[in-house]
């Protein structure tokens, strides 16, 4: 029961702190009911507008490596918050918590990116208190 409560609390927090997408509506692309947690190896980082993209190889349930692409914050805002493209490098092991794209592809919106040390990478730029869906 305690486990369920903790999961419920975590789910509630995720549901109210949705990623901020300024250049289009979150609901236009992602499903706030489909959470995903990926553990994998960084392949590359696209540090470009309108959002950065992380490419990660993560194993699926059968142990097969699957290439995921996850959208992060806008590079301008990340830069203002002190982050650089060098915060992640190829081969880094990360855990990504996010929301899946509605189209069912291996595409997600990264809510958080965490290194094995527990450090949050690119934190503080991809969230807003607003759930900007109807």
């Amino acid at each position: 029961m305690k486990t369920k409560m903790i999961l419920s609390a975590a789910g509630l927090l995720l549901s109210v702190a949705l990623p901020m997408l300024a250049h289009h509506s979150f609901a236009a692309e992602f499903d706030d009911t489909k959470k995903v947690t990926l553990k994998g190896s960084v392949v590359k980082v696209d540090w470009m507008n309108p959002h950065i993209w992380l490419y990660v190889d993560a194993k699926d349930d059968s142990g097969k490596a699957v290439r995921w692409q996850c959208e992060g914050g806008p590079p301008n805002t990340l830069t203002r918050n002190g982050w650089t493209r060098d915060a992640l490098k190829e081969g880094d092991q990360v855990t990504i918590d996010g929301f899946m794209a509605k189209d069912g592809t291996h595409t997600c919106n990264a809510r958080s990116v965490t290194l094995p040390s527990g450090q949050k990478v690119f934190a503080g730029t991809n969230t807003d208190e607003v759930k900007e869906s109807k």
């Binding site: 470009m48 509605k102 607003v130």
Partner: protein
């Protein structure tokens, strides 16, 4: 305590820590204290609105948020039972046509900004990235970091004959001083935009009145009134506070650069490229 439970607790604590700033600070860490001092003025004695301004991201003009407020004269919108943490909101005064359009709108069927089309005036003002204002006695210039767009308002003068105007995304803006407040009046919209990220509708008949008042060195009190008789039964406004950020510089923002969302088909651009607002 099992290791699984410990992991879950740690996850929960981490999520709380991660989410907490979103409630208290909005987007990202709070900035430094803005500079203090009197309202700066230009050589002609008018308030000088120049500067790089941090603005509250306003994805929903009917909702309350940090440094932003919808029209207090509108009725309260009860919070949905399923989401007690939702922001407090007001009910916008839709016409029957406006209500029909709003009820039918689903961004999953298309959001014109997903293909980097111009946000238009209101959605650009509502965007989270900073705004550079430049001013001389004849013009006030708005340089939006969002997608590196700009918009000019002529100080003084009148609008062209509306029947001869070419409708545009940002409209035709004229400005005048009302005491120490600059009032920017805009018509001539193309009706292809949404007011805000959540997608409130508007028509080509929209008339937007903005008021900029630099109350001191570090702040602008901003007010936007939406006057669109096709979509809303009466004019309504939204007010907010802009904060000067002398520690920032405006940056390039090329939306088209790597817009994978659209290039790869994860997002639809719009239902109807000639009528994204849904309202004529």
């Amino acid at each position: 305590m099992s290791s699984n439970i410990r992991t879950l607790i740690a996850t929960g604590v981490a999520l709380v820590a991660m989410a907490a700033p979103a409630f208290s600070q909005g987007r990202g860490p709070a900035g430094p204290k803005p500079p203090e001092g009197p309202t700066p003025r230009t050589a002609d004695g008018k308030p000088d609105l120049s500067g790089l301004w941090e603005r509250p991201y306003t994805p929903d003009m009917s909702a309350f948020g940090r440094n932003q407020s919808p029209d207090p004269s509108l009725p309260d919108d009860p919070k949905p039972k399923a989401n007690p943490n939702a922001r407090a909101k007001k009910v916008l005064p839709f016409t029957a046509l406006g209500k029909k359009e709003w009820d039918a709108y689903d961004a999953a069927n298309g959001d014109y900004t997903g293909s980097c089309m111009p946000f238009g005036l209101t959605r650009s003002i509502n965007s989270p990235d900073p705004l550079q204002i430049m001013q001389n006695p004849k013009y006030i210039g708005f340089l939006f970091e969002q997608n590196t767009w700009f918009h000019l308002a002529r100080i003084g003068g009148t609008h062209p004959d509306p029947r001869k105007m070419t409708p545009t995304w940002f409209g035709d803006s004229i400005a005048k001083w009302d005491g120490d407040t600059l009032v920017v009046d805009t018509i001539g919209f193309n009706g292809r935009t949404r007011l805000d990220t959540i997608g409130h509708p508007n028509s080509a008949k929209m008339h937007v009145i903005e008021k900029y008042t630099r109350t001191d060195l570090g702040h602008i009190q901003y007010e936007m009134t939406i006057d669109d008789p096709v979509t809303y039964t009466k004019p309504w406004k939204n007010v907010r506070t802009f904060t000067l950020r002398p520690d920032w510089q405006i940056m390039e923002y090329s939306c088209e650069e790597n817009n994978k969302d659209f290039f790869e088909g994860h997002i639809k651009a719009t239902q109807d490229p000639n009528n994204a607002s849904g309202v004529k």
